[in-house]
Point group: C2
Chain length 365, copies 2
């Protein structure tokens, strides 16, 4: 194999393909990229057995070929090359030579034996959305997945398509995060659970340009994301997600509207008094056009009033300030709406069009 390419192109592809490289494994091949030079492209493949990535970049291919090379070593070498022009070659013993300027790296690669290539899957449904929108929807929901492996379903996110709507949801039994997006046309029903890790990795490489699109395809056991020169295929999590519709209700007793930044600052101060050993709630007392926030720890206390616009009854409720911060951090709106039923029912944070809905269970006070 022999090709000449640009360091920048090589580096970009390496950064993408690194997202499915295992660092702690006894299977040497899973620490490697499958590097294939063919036609006028070089492709890198990585596979951690849950997520598989294939990404390619243009090159002057002099000899087509294929080789396995340790991903971390390739990442280090290419990232440190002195010049933009890179020559890459391998011989019949799978020895890799990399030249750039006066520098010459040599590394022992491996033959392409038993490498787990991306699975061949028949995908049934496909949607196209903006990469930036998907990135945002993941960011605005991923924080409430569960990290406990004993309930596998909760370590993933629900991706549900109904008619012309995509809904993404995560929950960890104390709180729920939901984002919805109107699609351009109607689609067949889809309801799958995508591993949280897959979504975190893909959101790191998605573009922040609203005009760049990603194609998402679903099968019974896999989801595929195609964008730019990259394909990512992930296994799905088996099982049934909680019935989210059942948790949503609209007959609230109290609604308040308040300035996001003022509320964020106040809750951020309250969170200073939360310690590992000492998880007291912030107590929110809503009365007329004011909300009083109070929190106590063993040797400190904090209180603050902020103005609100209220509809409905006065109310007193206790919440974990860290959960409120998680939500406020991902909302960009100037004003936010909170809905309450009573001091024992979840607090809802949502906008009028319900493109986002957050539920947080209260703490007894």
């Amino acid at each position: 194999m022999k090709f000449v390419c640009k360091k920048n192109d090589f580096t970009n592809s390496i950064n993408i393909a690194m997202k499915a490289i295992l660092t702690k494994t006894t299977m040497t091949t899973l620490e490697c990229f499958l590097i294939e030079a063919k036609d006028q492209y070089v492709s890198l493949t990585s596979n951690d057995m849950q997520l598989g990535i294939e990404t390619k970049f243009p090159a002057e291919v002099e000899d087509e070929g294929i080789i396995l090379m340790n991903a971390k070593v390739l990442y280090d070498f290419i990232g440190h090359l002195p010049e933009e022009k890179v020559e890459f070659e391998s011989d019949e013993n799978n020895t890799v030579l990399i030249f750039s300027g006066n520098a010459r790296f040599e590394h022992q690669g491996l033959a392409d034996e038993e490498y787990p290539r991306l699975p061949k899957v028949d995908f049934e449904s496909t949607i196209n959305i903006s990469q930036f929108t998907l990135k945002e929807m993941i960011r605005q929901t991923i924080f409430s997945i569960s990290t406990k492996e004993n309930n596998k379903v909760l370590t993933g996110e629900l991706f549900e398509i109904r008619d012309n709507e995509l809904r993404i949801a995560s929950l960890d039994l104390i709180r729920v995060s939901i984002r919805t997006l109107k699609l351009e046309e109607n689609y067949d029903k889809v309801k799958v659970i995508i591993p949280g890790k897959t979504l975190m990795e893909i959101s790191k490489v998605l573009s922040s340009n609203i005009e760049d699109m990603v194609e998402i395809s679903f099968s019974k056991n896999h989801v595929k994301f195609v964008f730019g020169d990259t394909i990512m295929i992930s296994r799905l999590i088996e099982g049934n997600f909680f019935n989210i519709d059942q948790m949503l209700k609209n007959n609230y007793e109290t609604k308040i509207v308040t300035n996001r930044n003022a509320f964020y600052g106040c809750i951020d101060r309250a969170a200073l008094l939360i310690k590992e050993t000492d998880k007291n709630p912030v107590v929110m007392t809503i009365q007329d056009d004011e909300m009083k926030l109070e929190i106590k720890s063993s040797n400190s206390s904090m209180n603050e009033d902020i103005p609100v616009q209220k509809e409905g009854k006065d109310l007193r409720i206790g919440l974990n300030p860290k959960y409120i911060i998680d939500v406020l951090r991902v909302i960009d709106d100037e004003d936010i709406n909170l809905y309450f039923f009573n001091s024992n029912s979840p607090c809802f944070i949502k906008n009028e069009e319900e493109s986002y809905i957050y539920l947080i269970l209260p703490i007894n006070i």
Copy 2:
């Protein structure tokens, strides 16, 4: 006690005084600031029993007084206040109240009992230098102090004044770093060892403005740094530093001059092949006007040539690339000079005027 001040002034002083706060200690008072309001100033004192800091800021003092308050709690509270105006008060029960905007923090402070204030010391010699220069001299030598506590002397840096020269040196038995500075006048001899931790903490708060001065005073057991509204007093390390003059020699066999950036890039690539388990040297072969660098690990190798200007004999020597990187990282000169005696003697990196001198022991090849 009661005073009103600016959040910014309070925060700056807290950031300085935090450098002598212990976080893991059984002595509660050492986790506290001593806060004293007097005249039109508030002073914060901290003391980790090696380094003591006293720093002050202007305030409208309504009631003079003194209190101990947990440093981390104060840092958190003041840093998160909503407005620039801060009101601080404490009552006879040592309860602290902090007001800013609509926010109100309360915290249980402690009485000023048995707090270890800064020691009263008679200092004998004093020099004045630029804060920026001191900061640079520390940065350019601190990396080669030893982290092994079994030889206490090597965990500090030598500060030596001879006539009109200040010399700072550190060594860890494999390498030596020396920086010298010409002083404006002649001073009495000083030769002390300052703890590395003290120097690291002070260099974090020294100004980067060449015109801001620091006064450094020495006694038998202490060193004092005075700058701006801050005093830092540190204990010295007892013992005798190695005789550095004995290590310096000028009868080199080989001298090369090379471009710093080209050399740095090359050594940085060589360092990629250094692993915890596998510490091979970079072998430098100097021949005519070229230096060839080669390094091997168990499954990779790298080599590169760079142009040099040579005086004296050809030479082949093995060095740890990480030690060369440490030196190149702190030198800003465009060209650097390396001096060699033979392949078993230290390599010297120094400039013509010897304001910096670095020695690195070679590795047998």
